[in-house]
């Protein structure tokens, strides 16, 4: 979990409080790298949140054990958001390219 959210952000922003706040409290990414960190991080958190739902059901499947669903949820959310963020970056990048022309 923290690999998906905390580590990339820490690598890029270091100890800059403003950036941390901008990304995680306001969800207002500006640069491309912001997108690459912000969206997957939120995706992982939300994915994990949804991943926790099947746990209390009494289907008695082996994958209903504690960390498994949540991890899968987090990974799925992360991947989806990663794709989304890449596409966002491309779209924005395209627009920025178009504008100067």
């Amino acid at each position: 979990m923290s690999v998906f959210t905390f580590v990339p952000a820490a690598c890029v922003f270091g100890s800059l409080w403003t950036d941390w706040q901008r990304i995680f409290a306001h969800t207002k990414p500006v640069r491309a790298i912001d997108f690459m960190i912000c969206l997957p991080a939120h995706g992982a958190v939300i994915g994990a949140w949804f991943g926790a739902w099947p746990m209390p059901l009494d289907w008695e499947r082996p994958w209903q054990e504690w960390p498994i669903c949540v991890s899968y949820g987090a990974i799925t959310g992360y991947l989806v958001a990663m794709v989304a963020s890449i596409s966002f970056v491309f779209v924005r990048g395209g627009r920025q390219h178009v504008k100067p022309d």
């Binding site: 403003t18 706040q21 995680f24 409290a25 306001h26 926790a52 746990m55 209390p56 059901l57 009494d58």
Partner: protein, 978 residues
Amino acid sequence: MSSSITCSRLTIYSIAAILLQITGLSLFVLGFFPFKPPLSGVSGPESFRSPLCGSVEDRNERALPPDQLRSLYQEISSIPRSFDRLILMVIDGLPAEFVLGKDDQPASKDLMEAMPYTQSLLTNGMAIGYHAKAAPPTVTMPRLKAMVSGAIGGFLDVAFNFNTQAFLDDNLLGQFLSIGWKMVMHGDETWLKLFPGLFTRHDGVSSFYVKDTVGVDHNVSRHLRDELNRDDWNILILHYLGLDHVGHIGGRNSFLMAPKLTEMDEVIKMIHLSTIEPQENDQGRTLLMVVSDHGMTENGNHGGSSFEETDSLALFIGLRANVSDYALATHNTAYQVDIAPTLALLYGVPIPKNNVGVLIEEIFDSLTDDQKLRALELNSWQLLRLLQTQLPGLSCGNFSCDGFSYDHSSGINTCSGSVENLHCCLFFNAAVLHNSWKSNNVSRSNCRDDYSSTVAAYYDFLRTASEWLSHKATDKPVDLLAFGVTAMLLSCLILLSLLFLLCKEAYLKEKQCLSELNTSMHNWHLDETFILVVIIILVISMGSSSMVEEEQYIWHFVTSTLYLVLLRKAIQFLQAGMVQSKLNVIKENNRRSYFQISSIIVLLISRRILRGWHQGGVNWTHLPDISNWLEQAGSDHIKSIQLVSGILLISLSLFALSPLRSKRKFVLVLGFICFASGLLVLIHIMKFQGHIFAASNYGAILMAQIIYAVLGISTTGTLIVSPWLMPVRISETCSSNIMSNSVTTDIQNKSVLAGLRDSAYVIGWAYMSCCCLLQLLLQQPINSMPIVLLFVQILASMLYYSSGGPHRKQWVEVAALYYLGMAGHFGLGNSNSLATIDVAGAYIGVSSHSTLLSGILMFIITFASPILALFSMVMYISLKDTSYLVIAQNADSGYLLKMMVSFPCLVPLGLNSILLTAYTIILLLMRNHLFVWSVFSPKYLYVCATTACVYLGVTVVAATGSYTCLVFALRKKLQRSI
């Protein structure tokens, strides 16, 4: 458009909605939980004749005197009566596991050693034991009814368990009375309430004083020797309550359990040696039946439908046929309702009319084959009669009474098709086989084979019919249900539309007043959306049985997420402060945000601890949690934790009182009262709790009563006095000025508001701290820390709200408080099964048995957390900064009242009505679900109780608000007139 509704109209509408809801709810409950589906009337001699032949009933037979009736029964039943006397020994709450073991394993060694005589009886084949599966709800009265009548009662019997009334349906004891037998009863007085005037001698003991484990049983056993020497009774009922009480106090593994079992064993030994052993002749034979009405969970509670609770015992001692094998004698299963037809046939009386049980085969082993088949036939006739009344279409048409003209081969067909056809066909199979056996029996050919196939066919029919009858969801009056649901939907809609109007009005007002503030509040915020999402999630999750069982996870999950969302929002505001310049206002803002963040973090941490305290739920209760760990650590640790939490609670509440600036003396008095009552509670805990035997003595009761009185008087005193004492500060200076000046009026309004808020704060504080102290006294020792945590949570959220300013919407905050209350409800170890209700606590400070008092205490214990959250609304009113709303308005007291009270009252009502209505509809949809009686119905009872709790809380909040407002309006008038 007139967007504002006046206070009085709002009140009228909401009261109308509440009344509508209550009506709808009661109609639905009456319709859904069938009160009594049973047949009235008593089985008479006609039960020995086939139901299919319209034999003329002889009216005179019923009017026969007992002796003749007895011989008539004897004659037409053609089964010799096996016994003349019955000793029914009921051991309340004894799980069959304790005696017979579980899953082909014998009972654990120390339990076997605790009952040496019973075990030796089982080993020698003198006794045969059954795991008699009891139907939920596993509480005493419905189970006794099931045993004597063979019928499975309605679910609402639980509600009447504490208000027993005479049992009027056909039952064994009534049948015995009609043949002139004398009955004697010693033990639980439930029997006396069920059958008033039936017993020739009796000594009833109350089952409601749970802490007493010795006296209740001594009161039964002291009569035993005398009764055994007499011979003027035919039925002797002994109902021992001690074992159930031991379970309630200490659970299955209580150290009192083994001595109690030994005591029971001694009783069995005494009865066996004195009555059954000596009689070798065939006259006056006595049967000793040891039964239990229900089992118990690990914690010693009961009421639900788990194996541990439904596994009750039926032990027959003194049968003629001996069972040779120990395994055969112990590994049988039956249903609790099977006891009634078995006893009826053994004693030659008609089977009670509403019986759905099936006779237990092995008990009749001493009879001849012919007689056994006759017994089966009688039971089948009785069930067929019952089926005929439940299924009007069941006529089983082409059946001729005299002479069975079917030949053998056509009779045996595989049965399928509609319910009617299935039952008819199975019955015919059995009847045809029986007849062919009868004819064959004369010629004595291959009789063994025929016999066993006939028995199998009978059991086929009996089991199918019995299952169908007991599972049949009895006819539900559709119009009643529909009307109930519509009424609930309507009231829900009214409440929601009121809420919507209020929100709109508040929003308009805010826009009007705070137009200079930032415009971002017009957006739909994440937390507001989330509150709505939570409701949807809850409604959806209630449709799944496992989610209902494990509801605590949902509440914990959702509440934590909600507060994380709020935390994120608080951080956002902090950021807004940092970016801008270093104005003083911004610094102030930042300080506030830090304040908010820290209070939310405190709240989340305490939430997490509370979550870990009880595992809760049904499926994962065995996982370790803090309470288990503490219990293993020993009672000294628990006691010290209790002390610490008591001290913490007192200091916290004193701390909460400290920010009040005005009227120091009054505040000091209040603080002293709180301190004193806290000390009293602590002394009570130190002195009396933990010692099982000391808890029932006079001092403890007196002490608890004193505490109740002190808490009650101080709360009402605060409520009455504080609005009069709180100063209306500026008005003294103002009153000398010109009264008509609008500015002065404004200031005066504000000062009135300040006074109002102060007094509301004091009242809210008094409510909360008194409530907490009371809970500290009542709850189980292990729950004392969670109470403190709950208090901390609510205080933290109060801090958070008080520093919030006008940015947040009121309904969000009230809803968050409500969620906190519900999450805390499960945090205290409650679940949606009736088994987790703490019965022992409801007798603290109650000297004599009183259903009402104990019921109220039980309600207070179970719904501690929602009640606390709702009471905290009073304090919340005082903290919410609403002064800006008054500025533009010339506030009369009605407007003020509406502004203060409307949201804290309407939001819980609205939320609860959504949940109630949704769950009602879900219950209706799930009426054929397998778990409807074991999972969904108890949950519905909880939902109803929560509704009652919300009504209570809202009434208190509204009453407090209106009283305070009234007093201040009065004071204003008085000051003006001076």
